[in-house]
């Protein structure tokens, strides 16, 4: 008797495709999840918020300060929503959350500037959400420097030459404008693949058990490896479809530049899909019913989304969390896809992220085979 029968294996593959075609909800999810998540994360979440409401105190005193305010407005970080009479009114507006920033220009600012006394102006920020103000604050100093360069001409040029306080340069690689979508959208591919694939394969086997059809399968000569791999194949196809939808959206909807190799990307995606499917099949073998499979999926999904560097910077996590995250395939896939899409990395740079994922897949597959129940015991 053959250890692996292609005929039986193909029977399983065919059956899965037939059932999938009739399962409208799952089918809708395959297309719906990438679209909904892209809309939510791609458009709604923004770690580089702009058009933050800003109030100005005493800006109308000179051409220089007016020019500075105009430059701030043009940077698109700041929306000047009010001119306030004094410091007290500014504090009030911040406390009530009417504005995110208050720019306080002292009455004698321009006179001091002209006299070369290096005057200071105060930018107060509502920093309750550091993420919301961080980028804007970072943009202020270069802005002031630029205005100084441009406006201090003629007799004041000497001042511009010695503008030491503005000597802050921000130089961002790969994403010079700090566009969140460049980071979020490729990262979403891993998140979406993890969620749909682990969940769907997690349900695949438990559904057979819950409907009683597993007993029927076990009573036939079909082998565990045939059932498992046969059930996986349709989901590999689904994963590749989802990856393509996300890539297309990244390119044409979000305008993410794609500098790397498409082949490298699809091969990485394929490996990542395999890793997720083995997890799903393992959960499927462990769970007693579909509800348990869903719960286990969530249990697996949360650390992935929180620790993988998708939501929070990897380097910012404590050591133990970094170790934990290094086990998860999503961590490595995020590095791979950002590396390929944004940096154009080649195989040499990709390899350190590829082998941990491959190792993970092999180990989990061994666990899955161990726990697949040959009998009903």
């Amino acid at each position: 008797m053959s250890a692996f029968s292609l005929l039986r294996w193909w029977a399983i593959v065919r059956k899965e495709f037939l059932q999938l075609r009739r399962d409208r909800v799952t089918f809708a999810m395959i297309v719906g999840i990438p679209i909904v998540q892209l809309t939510l994360f791609g458009f709604a979440i923004n770690s580089d918020p702009r058009h933050l409401p800003t109030a100005v105190i005493g800006a109308g005193h000179s051409e220089f300060t007016r020019s500075l305010v105009a430059a701030m407005r043009n940077s698109s970080y700041f929306d000047i929503v009010a001119e306030l009479p004094d410091e007290q009114a500014g504090r009030d507006a911040l406390a009530r959350g009417r504005v995110q920033f208050v720019l306080d220009v002292p009455a004698d600012f321009t006179q001091k500037l002209v006299r070369g006394e290096k005057p200071a102006m105060l930018l107060e920020a509502d920093a309750t959400d550091p993420m919301a103000t961080g980028m804007a604050l970072g943009a202020v100093n270069p802005l002031v420097a630029a205005v100084a360069q441009k406006d201090l001409r003629g007799p004041l040029a000497a001042l511009a030459a010695g503008a030491a306080p503005f000597e802050i340069r921000v130089h961002r690689l790969y994403n010079p404008e700090g566009i969140t979508q460049y980071n979020i959208v490729p990262g979403l591919m891993g998140v979406i693949l993890t969620m749909t694939l682990v969940m769907m394969t997690g349900l695949a086997m438990t559904r057979e058990r819950e409907r009683g059809t597993m007993e029927n399968l076990l009573a036939t000569p079909v082998r565990p490896i045939e059932v498992m791999s046969g059930k996986i194949v349709p989901y590999i196809a689904i994963g590749l479809i989802q990856a393509t939808i996300i890539l297309a959206a990244a390119r044409w909807v979000f305008g993410v530049p794609f500098v790397g190799s498409a082949v490298a990307l699809y091969l990485s995606a394929l490996l990542f899909i395999a890793a997720n499917l083995t997890v799903g099949i393992t959960l499927s073998s462990l769970a007693a019913n579909q509800l348990q499979a869903m719960q286990m999926t969530m249990f697996y999904f949360l650390p992935n989304i929180l620790l993988s560097g998708f939501m929070f910077p990897f380097a910012g996590m404590p050591q133990w969390a970094q170790w934990l995250a290094s086990v998860l395939p999503l961590t490595h896939f995020n590095r791979l896809i950002r590396g390929i899409v944004l940096k154009g990395n080649g195989w040499a740079e990709l390899w350190p992220s590829i082998w941990p994922m491959a190792l993970f897949t092999l180990i989990v597959m061994a666990i899955a085979m161990r726990f697949y129940r040959r009998t009903l015991d």
Partner: protein
């Protein structure tokens, strides 16, 4: 096991035991089913029938005991057994979201059958479902599902059929047709082990086994089973049977009373004592007492009551 036994016996198991947690589901089950025989498997719900069937075809591994199915060891050669046995589960276990044809085709593929198309077409034709082959299986009625399940587990031409309550919830006409089909198959030499709750079905089996609380209580032909219990039954007809039933409870010699419509069956092992008691109590006008043959149903009720007693005494 010897080759002659393998040729004659479809199922031959000894001392099978199975525990689920601390529940002893099957206790020391020994059973022989001859080839070409329809063997009825009876017992109350939860008595271990399904577990026993699963043990015999290798779907479950016994904790203790040994045996063979079609000459193959049930512990080591379940792969061989699976190819030669058709197992029909208690709950309909084909895929509701596949069409009738797709289900049959899938099963044929799993058994790697040659000439699949012809085999499936033939099965559809015999079923009378050729015209509805493209309907989803989930839309079929209970009776049709049962016929489809039988056709599907017959597809690979098994030598032994294991049918777990195949006629539960099926109307009488469909049940009769089903049993005619079983007898036709048995005549062709196929062995059948079928569990059931219906007495009329039990009487249509060549041999019977009665199991309760995991223990095999009786085995043999219907006559053997009835005779072995050595019970005497009196039928009482007339007015006031309900009152009589209450009065007879716990009286000497009376082991059970079963009402069959207008007739009350009173059963016990000690015939003279039972008759004396009956004469004492059934004094009302118009009550007629008559000794009758103990029926299979009386015996099964007796077996079940006694099994409960044993269980309680042992605890």
């Amino acid at each position: 096991m010897s080759t002659t036994a393998a040729r004659e016996l479809a199922i031959d198991v000894h001392g099978l035991n199975k525990h689920f947690g601390d529940k002893h589901v099957v206790a020391d089950l020994s059973m022989q089913v001859r080839r070409g025989e329809i063997f009825g498997f009876l017992g109350p719900n939860g008595s271990g029938k399904t577990t026993s069937i699963r043990l015999m075809c290798g779907l479950l591994t016994p904790d203790a005991g040994s045996g063979s199915c079609l000459g193959y060891d049930i512990r080591r050669e379940s792969e061989q057994i699976k190819r030669r046995v058709g197992y029909m589960t208690q709950k309909f276990s084909y895929w509701d979201d596949l069409t009738i044809r797709e289900n049959l085709d899938f099963v044929a593929r799993l058994y790697e059958m040659p000439e699949r198309r012809r085999v499936v077409d033939g099965a559809l034709e015999r079923l009378g479902l050729a015209a509805r082959a493209h309907q989803l299986t989930g839309a079929l009625s209970g009776g049709w599902k049962q016929r489809l399940a039988l056709a599907a587990c017959m597809l690979h031409k098994p030598e032994l059929l294991l049918l777990d309550e195949p006629t539960a919830g099926v109307d009488p006409t469909a049940r009769r047709d089903f049993w005619e089909e079983l007898h036709r198959l048995a005549a062709e030499g196929i062995s059948v082990l079928v569990s059931t709750h219906y007495m009329d079905e039990a009487e249509r089996c060549h041999k019977l086994a009665y199991i309760a609380y995991g223990k095999l209580l009786a085995q043999g032909t219907a006559e053997d089973v009835v005779r072995a219990q050595q019970l005497t039954t009196f039928a009482v007809r007339g007015e006031g049977l309900a009152e009589l039933t209450t009065a007879l409870r716990g009286q000497p010699g009376v082991e059970q009373t079963v009402a069959f419509g207008a007739v009350l069956h009173v059963t016990g092992r000690d015939a003279p004592l039972l008759e004396a008691t009956l004469k004492r109590f059934a004094t009302g006008d118009g009550l007629r007492i008559e000794r009758v043959d103990t029926s299979l149903e009386d015996v099964f009720i007796h077996l079940m009551n006694r099994a409960t007693d044993n269980y309680a005494a042992g605890a």
